[in-house]
C-alpha cells in the first residue's frame, strides 16, 4: 500500500501525505486552482474554517466511497481521501457561492482602501477584485468601532476586521500571555482587550503580519508611505530572541518598516520578535541578503528591480547588484 493518497483538483492529480487538507494539496499543485484563504494559516494550529472563502465542491468522496459530499466544504479543514475529486474554479456553483461569501464579507467593511495602510498588500482587496460584485446590495449603515491603540506600536481598526481569529491564535500560540480576544457575539463580535491593556510582549507584533486586512497595523509605519512605493529587501541579524530573518521595506536610504518574510500565500515564514520589528530600523543593524522576490501580480513589484536607480544599499554593494540583476532577469522574462 502506498503511503500517499491521490487527489484530483480541477482535473489535476497529485499524491499527498495522508491527513493533508484539500487546500494544502491544492497549494502543492499551485497556480489558479488554489482556493483563496482569509482565515486559515498553516502556521497556526486550529485556524481556518471560519471565513468560508476556500469552499470547494467534492464531486467524489474517495475511491472507497465515491459519493459526492452533500454541501460545499471548507477546503482548509477537509482532509483528502484517496481518489477524492475536487472542483474549485471549474465549478460554477463554487464560484457563485464564493462570490456570495465575498459580498457578505464586504457588507460591513468600510471599503476605505484609499486611506488604508494595507492597500496594495491586502488579501481582502485582492479577493474583492477577483470575486466581488461591482456594487453592493447592502443599503444599511455599516458597523463601526472606535480605533484603538493596543500598546504604543499596534493600532486596531476594528471596522476593517473580518474576524479570522488569526491574531487570537497567534497570541495563544507564540506569545506567553494573551490579553486580547473576541468579545461579544454574532455581528457585534470584536477583537478587544476589553479593558485598556497594552498588548505587550516580545512577539506581539506578529499579529500585524498575520492580519489579512488592515485591522491591525504597525503604528511605526502608519501613513509613512504606500507599500507600493517601498522596496522590500531580505535581511537578517543575529537576534537572541528570534530567527532574525526579516524583510526590510526601504524608501530611498530609509528603512520604513520591518516585517517577517512572507511566502506566496502571504504567510510568514518565521515569526519575528518585536525588537527586530520595531527597534532595528537602520541599515547597519542588518546583513542585507538580496531584493525580496515579489510576485508579478503585486503592485509592490512595479519597478522594484530597476537597474538605473537601484536602492542605495544595493548601489553600495557589488554582490547585491548581482543579486538584483538576477531578480530583474527573472521578472523581465515574463
Amino acid at each position: 500500500m502506498s503511503d500517499k493518497v491521490k487527489v484530483t483538483i480541477d482535473g489535476i492529480s497529485i499524491e499527498v501525505a495522508p491527513g493533508t487538507s484539500i487546500l494544502n494539496a491544492a497549494r502543492q499543485i499551485g497556480g489558479d486552482i488554489v482556493p483563496p484563504a482569509m482565515c486559515y494559516y498553516s502556521k497556526l494550529e486550529g485556524s481556518g474554517g471560519k471565513c468560508r472563502t476556500c469552499i470547494v465542491k467534492v464531486s467524489k468522496g474517495s475511491e472507497k466511497d465515491p459519493r459526492p459530499m452533500p454541501k460545499l466544504v471548507a477546503s482548509c479543514r477537509t482532509t483528502v481521501m484517496d481518489g477524492m475529486e475536487v472542483q474549485n474554479i471549474t465549478s460554477p456553483e463554487v464560484i457563485e457561492a464564493r462570490s456570495g461569501v465575498v459580498e457578505i464579507l464586504l457588507i460591513n467593511h468600510p471599503l476605505d482602501c484609499p486611506v488604508c495602510d494595507q492597500a496594495g498588500e491586502c488579501d481582502l482587496q485582492n479577493l474583492g477584485y477577483e470575486h466581488g460584485l461591482q456594487k453592493t446590495r447592502y443599503e444599511f449603515e455599516r458597523r463601526t468601532f472606535e480605533r484603538i491603540d493596543i500598546g504604543d506600536k499596534i493600532q486596531l481598526h476594528m471596522n476593517r476586521c473580518i474576524l479570522c481569529y488569526r491574531c487570537v491564535f497567534t497570541a495563544d500560540q507564540i506569545t506567553n500571555k494573551r490579553v486580547h480576544g473576541i468579545l461579544n457575539r454574532g455581528d457585534h463580535s470584536e477583537i478587544s482587550t476589553y479593558i485598556q491593556t497594552a498588548v505587550d510582549n516580545d512577539f506581539s507584533g506578529n499579529v500585524i503580519d498575520v492580519c489579512p486586512v488592515g485591522a491591525l497595523t504597525d503604528k511605526t509605519f502608519r501613513f509613512r508611505n504606500r507599500v507600493w512605493f517601498t522596496k522590500p529587501v531580505d535581511a537578517h541579524r543575529d537576534c537572541p530572541t528570534c530567527s532574525g530573518k526579516v524583510t526590510l521595506w526601504y524608501k530611498g536610504a530609509d528603512v520604513l518598516r520591518v516585517t517577517a518574510r512572507k511566502d506566496i500565500y502571504g504567510e510568514v515564514e518565521e515569526f519575528i520578535c518585536n525588537t527586530c520589528r520595531f527597534d532595528k530600523k537602520k541599515t547597519e543593524d542588518w546583513v542585507i541578503e538580496h531584493p525580496t522576490h515579489i510576485s508579478d501580480a503585486s503592485v509592490i513589484s512595479s519597478n522594484h528591480y530597476e537597474t538605473m536607480k537601484p536602492l542605495p544599499v544595493i548601489q553600495n554593494n557589488p554582490k547585491l547588484q548581482a543579486a538584483n540583476k538576477v531578480e530583474l532577469e527573472k521578472t523581465s522574462k515574463f
Binding site: 484603538i148 494573551r178 490579553v179 486580547h180 468579545l183 461579544n184 482587550t193 476589553y194 479593558i195 485598556q196
Partner: protein, 170 residues
C-alpha cells in the same frame, strides 16, 4: 472598551469560595475552566453584575487569563457587564410569545416603570429588557427575574403591575 473608573474592588466571601470549590470538583483534574459559567452565575447572583475586578478574581481562582473570562462573559446573554436594577424583568420577545401579546406587554412595562429598555429606574430597583425565547412558548407571554430566574407565565398588563407592586414592597 471599558472605562477604567468602573473598577471598584470586590471581595469574595468564604461562603462564595466554598461554592466555587464545590463546583470545580465536578470536573476532571485540570479541566477546572469548565467551572467558569456556573461560577460567573454565582458571582452575578452575589454582586448583581460582573465587574472587571470580579472577573479578574475569577480568572485568578481558575488559573486562566483574564481575557478568557471577558470573552465568555460577553458571549452569553445572561451575564451583565453593567450594573442593573435590583430586579431585571426579562420579557420574552420571540415569535410565539408575540403571537399572544408580548410586544404590547413590553410597551406596558416601559410605561409602568417609566424607563426604556436596559435603563435603570431612578430608585435603582428595576430595569427591563426583551430577551430571546425562554422555552415557555405555550404559557406566553412570560418574563423571568434573576438571580433565581423565577418564571411568570400567562401574563397581561394587570398581572405585571401587580408583580411590580409586590416587588416594590419587598
Amino acid at each position: 472598551m471599558l472605562k477604567v473608573e468602573q473598577q471598584q474592588p470586590v471581595e469574595f466571601s468564604p461562603a462564595l469560595i466554598q461554592k466555587f470549590d464545590e463546583i470545580t470538583g465536578r470536573y476532571p483534574e485540570g479541566k477546572q475552566k469548565s467551572a467558569l459559567l456556573p461560577i460567573l452565575h454565582e458571582v452575578q447572583a452575589e454582586f448583581g453584575w460582573l465587574s472587571v475586578p470580579a472577573m479578574d478574581k475569577v480568572a485568578l481562582y481558575l488559573d486562566i487569563q483574564d481575557i478568557e473570562v471577558y470573552e465568555v462573559a460577553s458571549f452569553y446573554s445572561m451575564y451583565f457587564l453593567k450594573p442593573q436594577g435590583k430586579y431585571v424583568l426579562e420579557v420574552c420577545r420571540t415569535g410565539p410569545c408575540c403571537l399572544v401579546g408580548a410586544e404590547k406587554l413590553m410597551t406596558h412595562i416601559e410605561s409602568s416603570l417609566g424607563v426604556k429598555e436596559n435603563e435603570v429606574t431612578p430608585d435603582g430597583l428595576f430595569s427591563w429588557r426583551g430577551v430571546e425565547c425562554l422555552a415557555a412558548c405555550g404559557f406566553g407571554p412570560v418574563l423571568q427575574i434573576g438571580p433565581e430566574y423565577t418564571f411568570y407565565e400567562n401574563l397581561n398588563a394587570e398581572k405585571v403591575d401587580e408583580l411590580i407592586a409586590d416587588l416594590r414592597k419587598k
